[in-house]
Amino acid sequence: MMRTHRKGLIVVALGAAMILAGCSTDGSVDPSAAPEGSEAPPAESESSSGEWFDQAVYDEQFEQRSASFEGDPATPWLQYIDGPMTETAEWQTDEAMHVCFANASISNPWRQTGYITMQEQLAVLQDEGVIESMEVRDAGDDDNTQIADIDYFIGQGDCDAFIISPNSTAALTPAVERACETGRPVIVFDRGVETDCATTFIHPIGGYAWGIDTAEFLIEHLEPGDTVVALRILPGVDVLEHRWAAAERLLTEAGITVDDYFTGADPTEIKSIITDALARGEVQGVWMDAGDGAVAAIEAFEDAGADLPVMTGEDEMSFLRAWQEREMTALAPVYSNFQWRTPLLALEMIANGEPVPAEWVLPQTPIDEAERDEAIAANEGMPDGHYARFGGADLPTFPEPWQNR
């Protein structure tokens, strides 16, 4: 027993030494990781958004905001920016397909709304005989589960096509590559992966465009020296990080003071943050990386008796309605929810042997004050967690499935 005790001590000592060694290794691998803790918050958040800022992609999305889209503006989910196309003649078929969909999760209202639209689009394509069935596996926000899901689909060997909505960018890359190796069409949408092996990658313009739209709106309505509170859901998700990386850069350049916080989309947290910020001084603007919880932010101003801020939210109904009820200067940026229809429609094109864009960039236009009332009227009777630009109003089952979740 003495011996095990001594062994234990050695393990402990080594472990303690390695904690130090481990930390220093981290620092040497990632120079930006080490100094962060010691810096003051503003500098720190700058460096953290610096990690996510990619000038080339920023410039590209800046251009894409004013690009012209191919296709009918009445069906924006089929529009795309002209670019390289993937030939799909090899997959042309008259037989109904068995589709395998690896979904990251339906754990937030945006994904729930999109998933409903997808289901209803699926029903239409099933009636038309394009798709026989769609097998769905939900990864519950877990990379490991989603990798297992994709491998299961590959192993079953009966998928005529894959649709993948990745849970995270880098971690899902190997699994998507394995799906591509089956030789079947692979459609990736929403978050991307670090490979271009997919038949098509469907996404709205992107996070930088969101950041640019929102920052320009705030800069237009605010003065240099004003304070903007940024409410962010969580760190580390690329589509969200890009939104803030672009917005923070533009706001800071315009001389606007920014304070950013992570809220987990919890309205209690949001309300506390705004209340504290108002207790410290005036807040002229609120920036959100997603509209979920926007109402709590507005209420915090009302409860404190402060003037309502200039605000950017999202096209979630709760925000649009709250905005309509009040005298507010606001903008509802859009991360086009209708993209959930596009993968299935792309499959229809593939079955017909039509080429599809290799990178299918969908339009992404914010809802401004002029369009707001129209957007609300078009979505009458929808729950607060519904997204105005869901793009399913022309589907035959509209509106029950979206109203009664």
Binding site: M1, T4, H5, G8, V11, V12, L14, G15, A16, A17, M18, I19, A21, G22, T25, D26, V29, D30, A33, E36, G37, S48, E51, W52, S105, I106, S107, E135, V136, R137, D138, G140, D141, D142, D143, N144, T145, I147, A148, D149, D151, Y152, I154, G155, Q156, G157, N167, S168, T169, A170, A171, L172, T173, P174, P235, G236, V237, D238, E241
Partner: protein, 337 residues
């Protein structure tokens, strides 16, 4: 000596509990096969086997370690963050290429061991309840992870990724490693003095101390082993995902699920009784359930409900069984003598 005799009856009870776990597992598999074929799919395919075994392997590593800690009378809620830390440390060092694999694995395991040592020392020296000690350590690490890392970090070279991708006769290599670890843990528990001491301390620390067991050593060692196994899980996730991730551990919910698997496997949460074999059965039950609910496309929210219900029902049944059995034993003794 008292400690050893103390552990005996518990071990006899454990054997039968383990048997029940596997009977339940067979029942779950049979039911699953029926449900899946009713839905027009086939259950007994190689991809089902691979899928279930893959789902098992990560939770399996964590649950083996959790078994050791729980038998010793403690608890480990810090495992998800150890998993993430190991994946980050491993990926950071392996980013330099194949030469980084061995140092990366060693560093990840040693950092994990250090966290385990911290857990164990806080429990034994500061005399903080394992629940609180590991909750606290987990929170401390999660703050560090959340502040220092945004998104994925580092990378794993292709040589290392083979561990996650290799199948031997349809069985993932990761599962084989996990089962090997389970075997080693079982040997430790049943064939070494340290193992007996882990049972003794978990059963009754006071009696163990009186009978000459250094009560702190088994607790610290089981915490170190638990964290190292969680570290292995993190490394395996690194091999599967190819990048380190600060959230990979919490994504899987390995803290509560591993405790649930251990308890489902018949180990007493109070410590002193149970075993690794039962835990593997518990992990398998969860993996089969998860797989079947996936195939049947059960609403993901309903999955959580089923998991919760399974935990409550299973544990209530164990408890009910031991309650049923206890009175006759007392009566039997009374009448015979």
């Amino acid at each position: 000596m008292t400690a050893i005799t103390q552990a005996r009856p518990a071990r006899r009870a454990r054997l039968s509990t383990t048997a029940i776990v596997y009977i339940v597992l067979v029942g779950v598999i049979a039911l699953s096969a029926v449900l899946v074929s009713a839905a027009g799919e086939s259950f007994f395919t190689s991809s089902t086997l691979t899928s279930v075994l893959t789902l098992m392997s990560i939770l399996g590593f964590v649950a083996i370690g959790q078994t050791l800690v729980i038998i010793s009378g403690s608890l480990d809620l810090s495992v998800p963050y150890v998993v993430s830390t190991a994946s980050i440390v491993g990926a950071g060092i392996m980013a330099q290429g194949a030469a980084g694999v061995v140092p990366g694995v060693l560093a990840a395991l040693l950092v994990s061991a250090a966290i385990g040592a911290a857990n164990g020392l806080i429990v034994t020296k500061l005399r903080v309840h394992g629940f609180i000690a590991t909750l606290g350590v987990g929170l401390i690490i999660s703050g560090w992870l959340g502040t220092s890392f945004q998104g994925s970090f580092g990378s794993a070279p292709p040589e290392f990724r083979l561990i996650g991708a290799t199948l031997i006769a349809g069985v993932p290599l990761s599962t084989i490693i996990m089962l090997a670890c389970a075997g080693l843990a079982a040997l430790l528990l049943h064939r070494t003095r340290l193992g007996h001491h882990i049972y003794a301390v978990g059963g009754n620390a006071h009696v163990a101390r009186l009978s000459g067991v250094r009560t702190q050593v088994p607790v610290v060692v089981s915490h170190i082993l638990c964290s190292m196994l969680a570290g292995l899980a993190g490394l395996l996730l690194l091999a599967r995902t190819s990048v380190g991730s600060p959230t990979i551990g919490s994504q899987g919910g390995y803290d509560l699920m591993s405790i649930a698997a251990v308890v489902l496997g018949g180990t007493l949460l109070a410590g002193g009784s149970g075993g690794v074999l039962g835990t593997i059965g518990g992990v398998a039950i969860f993996a089969v359930l998860d797989h079947v609910m996936g195939v049947l496309e059960v609403n993901p929210f309903f999955k959580d409900f089923v998991r919760g219900a399974v935990i409550i029902v299973a544990v209530a049944l164990y408890a009910w069984r031991s309650l049923q059995r206890r009175p006759p034993r007392f009566h039997g003794k009374g009448t015979r003598t």
